[in-house]
Symmetry: C2
Subunit: 535 residues, 2 copies
Amino acid sequence: MMNTLAITGEALIGGVAVKGSGSAIYAYNPGLQQQMEPAFHAVDLQQIDQACRLADAAFDQFRALSDEQRAVFLETIAEQIMALGETLVERVMAESGLPRLRIEGERGRTVGQLKLFASLLREGSWHDVRIDPALPERTPPRPDLRMRMIPVGPVAVFAASNFPLAFSVAGGDTASALAAGCPVVLKAHSAHPGTSELVGRAIVKAVELCGLPAGVFALLTGSGNGIGQELVRHPAIKAVGFTGSRSGGTALMAVAAARPVPIPVYAEMSSINPVFLLPQALAARAEDIAQGFAASLVLGVGQMCTNPGLVIGIDGPDLARFTATAAQALAGGAACAMLSSGIAGSYARGIHQLEQHADVSTLALAGQEAGKGAPALFRTTAAAFLSQHALSEEVFGPASLVVACRDLAELHQVAESLEGQLTATLQMDAADLDTAQALLPLLERKAGRILANGYPTGVEVCSAMVHGGPFPSTSDGRSTSVGTGAINRFLRPVCYQNLAQALLPPVLRDNSEADTGAGTNAGRWHRRDGVLTRA
Amino acid sequence: MMNTLAITGEALIGGVAVKGSGSAIYAYNPGLQQQMEPAFHAVDLQQIDQACRLADAAFDQFRALSDEQRAVFLETIAEQIMALGETLVERVMAESGLPRLRIEGERGRTVGQLKLFASLLREGSWHDVRIDPALPERTPPRPDLRMRMIPVGPVAVFAASNFPLAFSVAGGDTASALAAGCPVVLKAHSAHPGTSELVGRAIVKAVELCGLPAGVFALLTGSGNGIGQELVRHPAIKAVGFTGSRSGGTALMAVAAARPVPIPVYAEMSSINPVFLLPQALAARAEDIAQGFAASLVLGVGQMCTNPGLVIGIDGPDLARFTATAAQALAGGAACAMLSSGIAGSYARGIHQLEQHADVSTLALAGQEAGKGAPALFRTTAAAFLSQHALSEEVFGPASLVVACRDLAELHQVAESLEGQLTATLQMDAADLDTAQALLPLLERKAGRILANGYPTGVEVCSAMVHGGPFPSTSDGRSTSVGTGAINRFLRPVCYQNLAQALLPPVLRDNSEADTGAGTNAGRWHRRDGVLTRA
């Protein structure tokens, strides 16, 4: 049985720990600014191929499990993650520089979303069962037609750096792919390799405990683009889940599109999450909004996909009160350790460019330190923003740009100019309703989630969540990577025409006394002649 | 008001008929083998741009319609198509060479699918409404989260040649895109330009009658790849529906992926629709199966996406009885006019290559005539089929290839070697159940629809239909282009967090006495805390 508490620097393929033959990387403790043992060696092409072949070989058995069996598997992963206890929490803290409370909360979110997908499986409507019974008397006769969703096949998942648990090895992409019945070949993020190995071992142990084929899950080690691109090229891989940079995501999109058999890529990439300060709200509570905004901006040292990197308001005394309060709150904040030296370096370059920009003024910049992210607030005019695309590029970290507009018409122009976003936020009062209503259709075109009087950080894991949005916030705005809707990314429909009951998958069979409970007679939702029913 | 009964050779942009400035094409009557008046001039870049801009401008108003309003629009299109009467039927017959009964049936299918989407809109569950109410007492508090699907934006639709009504101007792609709330810019197929203009005029008149903005629908004229590629490149276009050749579909996929903002392409392209003759069924009723197969093969002169172009059985006397009967039925058939001289030419080249192939024997070939499709049946061995990819390429028309396997293991190998398919058919008896069960997981991976004891031609328009399948049968195996599931291709989710009731779209509002019927209190299906309900 897999020893879950070891960190040996190995990949996990076929249910066993194996050493990669490539170059070594080490974890880095950003708080202590020191390298951590052991070495993690990159997997080679043969190991990538082996992981993908085993995933393919495991696919039919894994997808044939009942909903209950797959639900228990997800719950077993959650249990095994909790069983890692302090070993996990301390390693994540060391590798990420994030505080204990955040890590424990993120662990709760991670096991919570595994359990949410387990409950989704038990509820069963994810199958989208549709039954159009035969109409033998009709001219021409209608055959018996039954549809269900099946998993697409093995999925390559790329872990994110910024949530070492919730968007990493056992994060939302893995949970939703496994829930769908897709084996997962996971590319670990080099920013937290020890965390990745611990969680990977927990999943492998859950695979063992549930008696599943070892190919259901593999963890690949290594850094750089080569491993990921080879993984996406492998013919056994049928879909990709990714959270990371725009350059990384678009590179994988290109590889996937160039395959002999193209596959879908679900990449969550880049978003500046505009916050619109509508006039009446700004007049009534500029300071309150500024305090809430500043708190949202520095959450997790600004390393959130939904970090509010852009604020749009109408120039004047109210906006000046907002910027003064926000600047004061941010300038007094401390620079904190960022997730990796790479991220800290990119952030420092990003704020340096804004500082130097002729059309940008610096409203706040906390004391900078190497490797740390200093909260920063900048200001520009709508005219400058509209004419210079570089000002709308994401600076990943606790920095935001305030865009001062002459009037509502210019505010609309700024909104119109934005690329696709994960979120758009309205700070509004009742008297701003007409203004908000005029803006809403545009925001619906631009964003996956629209908030009023809140802040975009904090992404609830639930049925109604959309953590997605038009390109480039994601590669595919028809999807969400958080919440139960995430399972739909990894499903495709199959129709069965005139198949004998014995040949039909259980979920499509007619009611019968002998049914074991997996059929439609178990009170499961399905469509009969297009009508939703449980009868 | 648009005159619906005219054929002037014009494009339809902004609700008016406009002459293209490009080169002229003419319709061709394949039965009489003569050119038809008038000339259809290709649209220019400025006209393409105008159609796309108008579609974009119409989008917000069109998508804001109630389900009832959009349902009435679809029904009005259906009425206007029927009102074209004999003018339409005669033009389709002349341009396609297809007989009256087929055309009248296809017209019935076309208006039927418009009405089916109208009923889907009224039923309302397509919105996929999800409501997770606020939990203010929880730590941390949960905000109010509500989700619905919205249309993706203007859709470019490419009409198919082989169904001049049901997969053309007002076909399944157009019906599902309009149902979703997406304006449609339609590229007419040059094989039936007069039919396209008549149906286009019917849609424009329906737009007028329903008081919708003219940009909701445009018809573009012209042939060649240039117009289509410009259309797919246009920034206002947010998705593509296509039915046609593999080369045409993959070219559009490449254009869509190379855009600054990539968009999804739903291309239905290429399928040889394997028919597996399982041993007991073949022994019991080889001749019956052969008769049914031959009838399916020549339906519509074999110009069906689901034409059975491949038959796989185990070599021996039973397979010989099958091929003898099928060959006799096909050799006695007449060569019939194909849809266009281009299709007839490709078909003639395809069967010539098979005739000349060293590893292929010709079992039947009806008398060939220029411009016509002669039924043809060929035979090869599994060994030859497995080693030569060219033998698995589609020959569009009434030709099929029988692959003789040594045993079940080789039959599995042939199945494993296949590319993605729209359909896979099992001819089986009760005694073949184990054989079928062993084959089924493989067929599920390969095809969108699996049939027993029928033939793949005949695609029912209903809730459970899947007319789709893994690449290259389509560009995106997660979708169907026939049946109500087709609407999902043109939708994306948006989540609303803590929005005031007055700002929420009606379908997401809470119950209230004042509600006009569009809200969730109208007894519509939605998910509350993840649970499906109508309460």
